[in-house]
Symmetry: C2
Subunit: 242 residues, 2 copies
């Protein structure tokens, strides 16, 4: 297909497609002439994946590029692709503090190590997970929320169970004609917002069952705080669209 069809089918403007190609997020079409190239379904899928990474997950274009590159390297080896994708994501996180001044303090690092020990997780020695975790803990400590490994352990156990589900998902999805590597990206990266939404809803519900009134609902007597949510918020659709 030609670029205009790719654009029409993906909903992405031609100019943007060209931009993605320039930035190496999308491989160029197969050139058939000096000013003609054609694109196939793979381009379309890749393009949709890019949009999902960027708009659903909110990754930067360069981070998406890293992930996609990792994915291209290993279309057929899911396991390896998963590793590369995880590595690429970690790289993304690392882009925020590019200046090396921000050393991770010993305290948070030790806490992270102890947590990982306690879980018994097998991490690749080069994995940056420890450092990332330590960095996050440090940031939280700076705002006054000191989390120790005992507190985090139950969270880690739940993360563990989530990961089991994730890997099951990966294995189960063989029927699609998507490459497993692509599924790895979807399951590890794109599922994150979904999980966070689920957590927020669960928090709302849990808060309700503990304190009685749904959060955001008006308190028993007066003093409606005004900062709340607009009733007409969810624009357009009616939830009853079953």
């Amino acid at each position: 297909m030609r670029i205009s069809e790719l654009s029409r089918r993906s909903g992405v403007p031609i100019a943007t497609i060209k931009y993605y190609i320039r930035e190496k997020l999308l491989p160029a079409g197969n050139p058939t002439a000096h000013n003609q190239a054609d694109y196939d379904e793979r381009h379309l899928r890749r393009l949709r994946l890019i949009r999902a990474l960027v708009s659903v997950r909110g990754l930067s274009v360069s981070a998406a590029s890293d992930i996609l590159a990792a994915l291209s390297e290993n279309e057929e080896n899911t396991h390896l692709a998963l590793g590369l994708v995880l590595g690429a994501m970690q790289a993304e996180e690392r882009k925020k503090p590019p200046q090396e001044g921000e050393e991770v303090a010993a305290g948070p690092m030790a806490e992270a190590e102890r947590l990982i020990d306690a879980t018994g997780w097998q991490l690749h020695p080069l994995s940056t997970g420890r450092t990332q975790l330590a960095r996050s803990l440090q940031s939280m400590a700076q705002v006054g929320l000191h989390l120790d490994w005992q507190t985090l352990l139950p969270y880690a156990r739940l993360a563990e169970q989530t990961a089991v589900l994730d890997l099951d998902q990966l294995s189960a999805g063989g029927d699609d004609r998507l490459s497993l590597a692509e599924r790895a990206v979807q399951v590890t990266v794109l599922l994150e917002p979904v999980l966070m939404i689920l957590r927020r809803m669960a928090q709302e519900s849990e808060s309700f069952s503990r304190y009685g009134s749904p959060p955001g609902e008006e308190p028993p007597a007066g003093a409606r705080p005004a900062a709340g949510e607009e009733p007409a918020a969810a624009p357009g659709e009616t939830p009853g669209a079953a």
Copy 2:
């Protein structure tokens, strides 16, 4: 204290502090003269919280502003503050597709509804969680990952348990002199990156224990059975066609 001290103690440049004040993220100092105002510990804590929201969690300044505003309205009522914060976060997510063209299709919406039914969660009728969930599911479906409510239910259960831990954290933290509302922000918003890091590490470990070689490592001998047999896969149902 004066602005220079606030800057020194927080590590945030004066110009940036002024910017935050202009943008209403930070309340202005208490003016003592036309060109003098003084700031207290509350300003310092708020400033650190802003930095955490923006750099740790990656929120936009305006989103952080919404959350902080919600928080200010209700310094003392944790429960209410939690609701407001959740609402503010949802508002943030909503900023991505400002154009109203993007209707949520009936399919994803129905799936979201069914999932929420299945969990038995008590959601505020105005909560945008459903819509957000549906929107995410729709995005994932567009890239070929069709998740039905049966598949999501175990994830939801884990989210539920996570939420229980979260609320425990909130209740337990009374010893700090931080307002409960601030803790609510920290626990709901700032913990997200930590949980995602835990999940990624757990995935790495789980992948290791299933496939033997740490992800990112190269497989022992060539041709690792890419898609062939999956050992512990428990494909109860295939989420493929819907």
